[in-house]
Amino acid sequence: MSKKDNRQTPENFGQSITVRNADLWYDDYQALKNINIDIPERKITAFIGPSGCGKSTFLKCFNRMNDLIDGCRITGSFKVGETDIYGKINVNELRKNIGMVFQKPNPFPMSVYDNIAYGPRTFGIRKRSELDFIVEDSLKRAAMWEELRDRLGKSALGLSGGQQQRLCIARAFAVKPKIILMDEPTSALDPISTGKIEELCTETAKDTTVIIVTHNMQQAARISDKTGFFLLGELIEYGDTDEIFTAPKDERTERYITGRFG
């Protein structure tokens, strides 16, 4: 287990994100309207807003998961570090660098070990010793090593919902992403599991940019450094979390965080 870590980390992707004049259409319906945002590196940025406001859609622009949807059209400039991610890049390389955790835990129907090894294997790592190292390292980062070390060969589908979600986070860690996108990662979980994942986010943000979409305003207030409030496809307000929650500039933000609509 003491082998050195051979995962290649090409340095061409930065950790900050800059978006200018972004619009997004599903066929004729405009889901995002002229969004401009600067997301700082190695911080937690939260997107809040009522259902259907476009926050998840916006999140999926960063790793180009929207490419999978027919009829989805995106304009504007999206830069990760200095790289234009809608320019000439390798999408798979992009997704390796920008990990994603989904709303519902989606472990593959394989063992815990194979779930985590899936990403590294995708990028050509086949040596057992290296994979063993990555699996252990990823699980440790996700604070799961102690509870799972004896169950590596068991099916991941047998874990509890909270464990599954943390496993998915560990799975994302395994390819050493520089940015992690979390799409309402705790909405299907109980309070205790939610607490664990929030801790994990804080821990992760020490060397990784974390962007989290959440329905839960307390969650945003608890863990994020920056908060963006979305409404009907527009980014209404974006700033330091403290400011957004204590002294919102926009009336709509205030009405939302005080619970008057949404």
Binding site: N63, M65, L68, D70, N92, E93, L94, R95, K96, N97, G99, M100, F102, K104, N106, P107, F108, P109, M110, S111, Y113, D114, Y118, G119, R121, T122, F123, G124, R126, K127, R128, D132, L152, G153, K154, S155, L157, G158, C168, R171, A172, A174, V175
Partner: protein, 617 residues
């Protein structure tokens, strides 16, 4: 009040009786075959029969004889059956699997639906048409480089392979499409390409469904009769090369049943019993696999991979090093991309296979069909060269009519019993479901065998439309029961409750509310059953007759159905043009019925969707 109660009770009794008939059918098939084969087993000796590799029956052999002058060993045919099945699986299973992958993941969205229905049409083509295609297209082609006329293991495997294709494709496709989309997204989000996500995650996740589809294909290949008879050559020898004449178990029955003597007939029935046992084993495996939770399967295999990989020392680490080497090599060679290319090629091949089978027969047969009206509507003339299939058409229609009259009420009533009356999980219900499962697995030639030793005797000792129709009726039961039940299940529970809440009895609810709502589904079942009667041939040859004689006057006359007529015409080799034309007629009729059934099924779906919308408002 009392009379309603009486009616309700009577209704329930009738529905229950229908369900019991299904059980009786299964029991009597087994009972008759086993009872009639026991003398042969004991006379020949079980071991000699199964493991003897010489089959030279003497039709004069009698059970009373102290010494048999013929020998009855079917081992060559057991080997032949397995060889042909494995061949079919290698060809049809592989191509079918990759075709399913193609349709599910690599096919352009617009082509998906037409492609799937084309593959489904392949399933509807009668097996005699496949066999005929083998005779007129495949064998001459293989003969170019074969030492014989092309018949043998290779030809059989190819034809059987094409025949099991639709089964494998449709079931594999269903299970691939049932894999949650979240897995795909998860894979792509870690940087997988589309192809790697498909081969690394989606296919392994659908593993048990794919395995089940292959096993179902094996079942179909094992039980197939006519197509194999037409291309295998049928000499009772081992298939020791790709091109030598060999015989499978089903063929043995069809080849010799018509003129078999006492002991010989017993031996043929015993052949049917052995075949039935094989098919049942396959079915049990199928049920085990399709019933087993995907989760469990995953846990087990994952455990295996883990224990073999970690802590490797000495030889084990040597092997794991090799494994790593192969893995790395596979990665370098981009196996995923190769998989993608293979999938696309197989998809194209499957499409071509259908176009080829149907197109070739059509191009050759249609002109003849159009220019020769005598063929379709002529009058039978004794010893004339001027063949007409008019009697066969009449015979087929009579058989369709009669068998549906017999099978349909029983099937629908059984379905009603299962869905409306039966309590889930009780022993009786499980027995009925088990019986229906078994019935759907029994090879068609075994039905023929059963019909010959029961119905033919019952109805005067010689083959007749009546006997043939009874035989095929049993065969139709599973189809009718299952698809009727399917449409009964899809009726919203609220309707039944609504009727019952108004004070209507159960019987009235069933006849006034449930059955009318399920009508489109039931009609589709009816049409599919028609197609089945028209395309089957093996159950008819010895129960309904195999000679194209004069037009039958009544249900006690015997005659060849269209499919049997095609078998006869192509076998003799003199009437090849007439055979082509007959094949064209069969394909048109079967396709027409399939399309009709699909159309009605779609209308049912639309109707149900419409109703749920109304309910929401």
């Amino acid at each position: 009040m009392n009379s309603t109660k009486f009616k309700e009770g009577l209704g329930k009794a009738v529905f229950t009786a229908a369900a019991i008939i299904c059980i009786i059918a299964v029991v009597s098939i087994f009972a008759f075959l086993i009872i009639r084969s026991i003398p042969a087993f004991s006379k020949i000796g079980v071991i000699d029969f199964i493991f003897g590799d010489r089959w030279s029956p003497d039709r004069l052999d009698k059970y009373e004889d102290a010494q048999l002058s013929g020998t009855y060993g079917i081992f060559t045919m057991i080997v032949g059956t397995f060889a042909a099945t494995v061949g079919a699986l290698l060809i049809g299973g592989t191509i079918g699997f990759f075709t399913a992958v193609f349709i599910a993941f690599f096919c352009p969205e617009k082509l998906k639906r037409p492609f799937s229905s084309v593959i489904n049409l392949l399933a509807g083509i009668p097996s005699v048409v496949y066999g005929f295609f083998g005779i007129v297209f495949l064998l001459p082609m293989l003969a170019n480089f074969a030492p014989n006329n092309g018949s043998g293991l290779l030809a059989t495997s190819i034809i059987l392979g094409i025949m099991i294709l639709p089964t494998v494709v449709s079931l594999s496709k269903t299970s691939l499409e049932a894999v949650p989309k979240a897995y795909y997204e998860g894979a792509v989000a870690t940087g997988s390409t589309h192809t790697r996500a498909v081969f690394g995650i989606m296919i392994p996740a659908a593993r048990s469904g794919i395995t089940a589809s292959l096993i179902l294909g094996v079942g179909r290949a094992l039980g197939e009769t006519m197509a194999v008879v037409m291309v295998a050559g049928n000499a009772a020898t081992y298939p020791n090369s790709f091109f030598n004449s060999f015989r499978v178990l089903t063929a043995n029955i069809v080849m010799e049943m018509g003129y078999a003597g006492d002991v010989q007939q017993g031996a043929l029935i015993a052949t049917g019993v052995i075949l039935l046992i094989f098919v049942l084993i396959v079915n049990v495996i199928f049920n085990l696999i399709s019933g087993r939770a995907v989760k469990k399967a995953v846990a087990v295999t994952a455990e295996k991979g883990r224990t073999s990989g970690i802590g490797g020392r000495g030889i084990r680490s040597f092997f794991s090093n090799i494994g790593e080497g192969i893995g790395a090599l596979a990665y370098k060679l981009k196996t995923d991309r190769i998989g993608k290319v293979i999938s696309i090629l197989c998809g194209i091949f499957s499409g071509i296979a259908l176009v080829l089978v149907v197109g070739f027969v059509f191009v050759q047969g249609l002109p003849h069909l159009i220019t020769n009206p005598h063929l379709l509507f002529g009058k039978y003339e004794f010893a004339s060269e001027n063949i007409t299939i008019f009697p066969a058409i009449v015979t087929t229609l009579m058989a369709v009519f009669l068998s549906l009259i017999i099978a349909f009420p029983i099937g629908v009533m059984t379905a009603v019993f299962l869905n409306e009356y039966a309590k889930k999980g009780n022993l009786f219900v499980r027995l009925i479901r088990g019986a229906i499962d078994i019935l759907s697995g029994v090879p068609s030639i075994v039905y023929g065998l059963f019909g010959m030793i029961t119905f033919v005797r019952l109805f005067g000792g010689s083959s007749s439309i009546l006997a043939g129709s009874f035989t095929i009726s049993i065969m139709l039961l599973p189809t009718i029961v299952r698809s009727t039940e399917e449409s009964l299940k899809s009726i919203a529970e609220g309707r039944r409750e609504g009727s019952l809440a108004l004070g209507a009895g159960k019987l009235r609810t069933i006849f006034r509310i449930v059955l009318p709502s399920a009508m489109p589904g039931i009609m589709a079942a009816l049409i599919l059953s028609m197609g089945r009667v028209i395309s089957e041939s093996a159950p008819f040859i010895y129960t309904m007759g195999s000679v194209i004689t004069s037009t039958p006057d009544g249900f006690l006359d015997s005659g060849a159905s269209l499919a049997v007529a095609l078998y006869q015409l192509s076998g003799e080799g003199w009437y090849i043009e007439e055979a082509y034309a007959t094949a064209v007629v069969l394909i048109i009729v079967v396709f027409g019925l399939n399309l009709l059934a699909e159309f009605i099924g779609n209308r049912l779906n639309k109707k149900l969707r419409g109703e749920t919308n109304v309910k929401k408002r």
